[in-house]
Amino acid sequence: MDLDALLGCVTSSSCLVTQTTSGLIVGMLLFMVAAGLTLIFGVLKIVNFAHGTFYMLGAYIAYSAFMFTGSYVLGVLAGGLGMAIFGVIFERVLISRVYGANVLMQLLICYAVVLICDDLVKIVWGPDFYAMGMPPAFQVPPLFIAGGVVPPFYIMLIVVALAIGGALSLLLGLTRIGKIIRAAAHNPNMVSALGINTTLLYSLVFAVGGMLAGLAGGLAAPVRSLTPGMGFSILIESFIVTVIGGMGSIGGALIAAVVLGLIRSFGTIGFPLFTEGLMYIAMIIILVFKPSGLFGKEIV
């Protein structure tokens, strides 16, 4: 524990800016993964324990597509699209067989997929760490805001993540398909009785969730090292985000993700060994006082 360092950082504007931006990018990546997780849970009542794997595969696909085409934008899009397709296959082939089954059965199937994908990544890309490096367009000097160092890539990442979150809210809030998704979250049998193909809808929801995780993986690739198993820590953290924000609430996920990102970035200064512990404590406290999360419905 190093409270002096933490106090020193909070009172110095350069450290404050640097830590806040690095906390925000962690938060934004978490938000994109958690938004897919919470969407899938909200509609299908399935906890997708393989969601971190979507993120990892998205990052690897984006890396390969970037190396092949030389375009970072195409790389990120390839990650998103690849995971949308993967999400549909995953839902159709495996998850659709355990709808309504005990959560442990779902956990076991997702666990199997995580194990398989981690090894497949080792076989295809090798067990070593990969570093994608900054895309050429962002190899420019960083900005200095109030003495703090802010790479332009961070700003782009925050803007893109917020734009995607905004687009998702508009999709759910204003479009016809969004209405159907929200209705299915509320009462799938009634939606089905009204003549809407819920099977197709479920695949679509998995595609959107997969795409979000894949995009997050692609966006994270330049600032994270790629390694088999990189999906696990983001899985745990995005679970904490969905649980704190309230399962099924996209807005809740955004707020919880930003809070968690900031806890992480400032926690590493004040409590270097106990940063993860802080996140678990935050989750336990919130659930004790509000068991459905900050923005969750009472009983899910």
């Binding site: 005990n102 199937i109 995580v114 194990l115 080792k122 409590f271 060994l273």
Partner: protein, 319 residues
């Protein structure tokens, strides 16, 4: 009463057979396997008291397994008390911890219960990793377990530890078996099947849930003690999340509806572990495919599947 005597007779028979086997098969591999099995089977069966009998899906039961290894190893290293005293003290530490953790967790429903139990385990993991002075941090508690001679028997000896593990496993299973066959066990199943009805019939649901939570924590810590003696210390891996994953894996594979399901599942898991890691470096790939085959093919644990095939009563628990 007949059932109890039959179970005890089977238990004594099992110990006798296990005691004889090393004289027929020389080598340490089998004994190692049984010791690890005994530790994990106690842990998995204790988790099944929650999952299979009460319908409480805990993802963080490894908290008590790991706390068992750490408290036992610390008591043996840092205090002068004897091994049996440390054994009992470890159970007490776990029971007290379980009352505190359980009081927070049991009022949460389904998936929230699962996540908060996992968060509790990971919180304890973080505390152990960061409290380097007491626990050795991520290096674990090294330095071995002293004072292993109990009543003239040296538990540092491999064969003695093997017999000890087998006896502890059999006694632990017998006690848990007895617990689920009492009226308390019936209350557990009633809460699992219909909590509201159980409550209307006068069962104080929270008290029963908290009791079974504490009991299962105590048995999990017994598994932890056996593991601590086996590895001569305590390590962060023994309280990290995959340890809970292993126990869930064991009970779902073995069968939540059969009392011995988790024990069978543990044997499957450890056998797979030993065989697959010897054959291929892609352990996850092989294990993942086997899990999928089990989960999607049988759709239930092995022992539940066999029981149903033999025309036994339909298995409860997971459906």
């Amino acid at each position: 009463m007949g059932r109890i005597f039959r179970d005890i007779a089977i238990g004594i028979l099992a110990i006798a057979v296990l005691a004889a086997v090393p004289h027929l098969i020389p080598g340490k591999a089998f004994q190692d396997f049984v010791i690890r099995c005994s530790s994990m089977a106690l842990f998995a069966t204790s988790l099944n008291l929650l999952v299979g009998y009460t319908g409480l899906s805990s993802f963080g039961h490894g908290l008590f397994f790991g706390l068992g290894t750490y408290s036992f190893a610390l008591l043996m290293q840092r205090t002068g008390i004897s091994l049996p005293m440390a054994f009992i003290a470890t159970l007490l530490i776990n029971a007290v911890t379980a009352v505190a953790v359980g009081a927070i967790c049991i009022r949460l429903r389904l998936i929230y219960f699962a996540f908060v139990t996992l968060a509790m385990q990971m919180l304890m993991h973080s505390i152990i990793i960061s409290w380097v002075g007491l626990t050795g941090g991520d290096q674990g508690l090294q330095g071995g377990i002293p004072r292993r001679v109990v009543a003239g028997i040296d538990l540092g000896n491999q064969y003695n530890l093997y017999i000890f593990a087998a006896v502890v496993l059999v006694i632990g299973l017998l006690i848990m078996r007895h617990i689920v066959n009492t009226s308390f066990g019936t209350s557990l199943r009633m809460i699992r099947d219909n909590e509201a009805r159980a409550s209307f019939l006068g069962i104080v649901v929270w008290r029963v849930k908290l009791t079974v939570f504490v009991l299962s924590a105590v048995f999990a810590s017994v598994g932890g003690i056996v593991m601590s003696l086996f590895v001569s210390g305590a390590y962060p891996e023994l309280i990290n999340w995959p340890i809970s994953g292993d126990a869930i894996f064991a009970i779902v594979m073995g069968g939540v509806g059969s009392f011995l399901g988790p024990t069978v599942g543990t044997m499957i898991l450890l056998l797979l572990n030993d065989v697959v890691t010897r054959q291929t470096e892609y352990y996850g790939l092989a294990l993942g495919i086997i899990i999928l085959a089990f989960a999607l093919g049988l759709r239930r644990g092995l022992l539940d599947f066999i029981t149903e095939r033999l025309g036994g009563r339909p298995a409860g628990g997971i459906s």
